[in-house]
């Protein structure tokens, strides 16, 4: 398939490489052109001068950029994909943005005869490297089927999860659950400390049973050391939880534990942990309790 790929950052460059390995023809665009040229030289690809050019050369255009403003810009701005792509071209946005933004962008693309899937990913750089990401796509079923060979080149678990925006929504819900589970863990450690429980034993017991979670596996160790080396920035997690709550409010559905978690993340941000890993939510509960692990 002829694929346009826009955004060759840490994740995007690895995802595009998976597409090349699967034998697809790529035209790539990156804001910093040198990055695109280096990548193209290494992996074999055409470099586009504008997103419009990438769009003109492709059946499917994938975007993997930072936020909703950038997605809008490369798809609909001056020199954007919509200016170059032939009607019928499929856009697949794999960035993490608000579902409402996705739907607004989709409506505008439709006016140009272009369709849109939202297909955000979970999984870090190593899994992008291996092509084993989890990919959750929202949009028309037929568009999903069309993009599926590409998505399966990048991901191990590739799911169609509902209409446009639902990929993003699912990701927000997942992240809110992760944040809530991490906040629960942090509180449990503080309570255990204050009541004299051995913290390493607690972590071991929970891991072997009903208190286990991915967050326990990933964050208990760092929390015990107050080591907030960033895997996922607290301010990014805070943004995702906030977006989840915004979408919930629009739908008139409450998510109390996510709301409480947001406030704790906010308190940790106020203590200077915006750029730290969101495991730093622990600091909020230590402050509340006046207890240090």
């Amino acid at each position: 398939m002829r694929v346009g790929f826009i955004g060759l950052g840490i994740m995007g460059s690895r995802m595009a490489a998976s597409l090349r390995r699967a034998g697809h023809d790529l035209t790539v665009y990156n804001r910093t052109r040198a990055t695109a040229e280096t990548w193209a030289a290494e992996h074999g690809a055409t470099v586009a001068a504008t997103p419009a050019e990438a769009g003109a050369a492709a059946d499917v255009v994938i975007t993997m950029v930072v936020d909703g403003d950038q997605v809008r810009d490369v798809l609909l701005g001056p020199g954007g994909v919509a200016e170059g792509a032939a009607p019928g071209t499929l856009c697949v946005d794999m960035s993490t943005i608000a579902p409402s933004e996705t739907r607004a962008i989709g409506a505008e693309l439709a006016e140009h005869g272009l369709s849109l899937l939202d297909a955000p990913v979970t999984g870090s750089a190593p899994r992008a490297e291996d092509g084993t990401l989890t990919i959750m796509a929202g949009g028309e079923r037929e568009d999903f089927e069309r993009a599926k060979p590409l998505l399966e080149a990048m991901g191990a678990l590739v799911l169609h999860v509902g209409p446009l925006g639902q990929g993003e929504m699912l990701k927000l819900v997942n992240n809110a659950v992760a944040a809530a589970n991490a906040a629960t863990l942090a509180q449990a450690l503080v309570v255990a400390k204050a009541t004299g429980v051995d913290l390493k034993a607690l972590v071991a017991v929970m891991g072997a049973g009903s208190g286990g979670s991915t967050m326990l596996t990933l964050k208990a160790g760092p929390m015990l050391e107050h080591d907030y080396t960033t895997l996922f920035k607290l301010e990014h997690m805070l943004k995702d939880v906030r977006l989840c709550l915004e979408e919930g409010q629009t739908a008139g559905v409450p998510f109390p534990v996510a709301a409480a978690t947001r406030e704790a993340l906010s308190a940790a941000m106020g203590r200077g942990h915006a750029d730290d890993d969101f495991a730093a939510v622990l600091e909020a509960f230590e402050g509340l309790a006046g207890v240090r692990l």
Copy 2:
């Protein structure tokens, strides 16, 4: 070792069998004597007429009964272990009761020259059968070392977690985390439903990534089916969360997510789910949102 074993219920009978397999001599007591006699005929053991008799014949007495009142009764009541056991005998209570009760019972046993470990377990009947329970013990280190061969015959993960009562406390914290993670899951499913997300896809994605948890694995399926076949009764979970909060209050340490979870469990109980599995906490959030999965 000469072991007294009191309480041959679903868990106790399997745990005692593990001790027999490991070659220990058992004197068993059960409130319903016929149960003890059947068990003794099958596994080989002496049947005691009273807890005192079991205590007199043992170096270590294990109790596995229903609640704090029963523990107190078999250890300190008329015909209880304390009446028969020689000074220096070690009691190991493996029931789940409040840490404060454990400590009170321990203090009374000490007046009789008896020492106490609290060693509650996590894991269900099959793991009791296999001798692969998780066992967390509180009490003096030397008492733990003395009981260790017995505990290791019953458990795969056996830990000394602090002074007397800390085994119980650790278990309460673990269960509160489990309940909170289950409540978070329930809320996420309701939010996902109301915002149009595919629920099975959500469960698959969370399971593959940061939203994963033991509760997701065990409870998501039942929640999606509103199938509350009891693995662990809601009212028992509610009791454990309440006890955890009580201990937290005594220590002056807050556990906000557990407090919120307790209220949700209470709301589910008010809807008639006391005897259902605690997955029925979902009903509280469905009621709050006015949304049915």
Copy 3:
């Protein structure tokens, strides 16, 4: 009417004086007998050597003691009212205790042919002095009508609020609302401080409008000064909120904001404010936010 009055503390002595002013005959009992004798000499009353004696001399016996154990003791213990009072005597407990205790005591009194009203009060010593307390009574309507002349001698607002225990329950709900409003106020002050709002202006504006409350009137000034001079001890408020949640759990009804407030009170207690006024709940939120007013 012939009235037995048990418990001449700060509140009880003033309440009994109101009954004397209204012309009732009093037989008084106090644990420390000298207190009773001094009071009797001043106001005119017979001093009883035991609660039983006070019960024998009365149509209605009022108790105003510290907690449920004391209520049980003076009514049902050795030398208690039940030993002396003739069948048909009415007991009116004006102490603040758990509704479930009230009902249990009521059931035992009934076995002696005695009936019980629970009639806790709100209002402080000056209002006890003036006979302008608020009194909320639970029990049989006919018992209430019988006690009404006495209650109206002590209170300005006297209400029958439901069956036995409902006076206590109403008081617990009122106190939980007060605690929650105070916690909300404390949070608002911390948020206002962190966002640069003039705190005195905030208090003035709220007092003039929709943010106003009795708690604002009573606690905003002390909070701004971190002055926790005790009007109502934090640990007593914490006890009342806890009892309210316990009763709610028994009824299967959630009270989320009270549960959250309890955890904040618990955190303040952990910081050493058990004996301070419950305005010290502010300290928990200052700790959470890392912000000092």
Copy 4:
């Protein structure tokens, strides 16, 4: 003083009338011009064709419109105040908008040599009629002093509360407290119902004591009747609480009870109460508990 007044809605028309009564010269603008002409004929004023015209004729321009977009439009849009007003003119925005929007608009007005106060009000139409509103102003002290005679013509309590935006912020905090107190009241009523307490007695007792609040006075009656006749729309209250939380997040300060209240308001909105009075938050708690008052 020469005053431009923009926005003659329910509140604005009454506030402008207060200014006329105090003898100020008014040039008025309203989007629907007929409204302005009717008002001017009745009260005596010049009608402007555009906000720019109103700005050109005034020393101080007051805006009282619906939201931040409208404020921006009449001040900075085509034909806006900034096009007509002489440098040094003072703008006073009395609408309720986000503090961050206020600050952004203030910065743009400064580029035109215009200064800005934010001066939102609390109090309903009758108090606008009487000139007894509460007015909280943010901005430079000297700008406040300049506007003070005008503000005092409209309000009984007029306060300078901090830098630009702090009037809005204070109002948001006040409204969040009001919403939280109303949510607490709703929960208390549900708990009281489920535990058998007489609800009218509860309301009376709370009103006489520590559980009292403006919300109790205004909303308890309507809640008991499920009468949600709109005084302040639920969706507007939800917006204010959301804005308060957004500002809190920006400052890194948590407001847990407001976050919980937002979710309850959201749940009530999802049940169809967006246009009802925010007393309808009761419906969320009735749904959670499965209890109807």
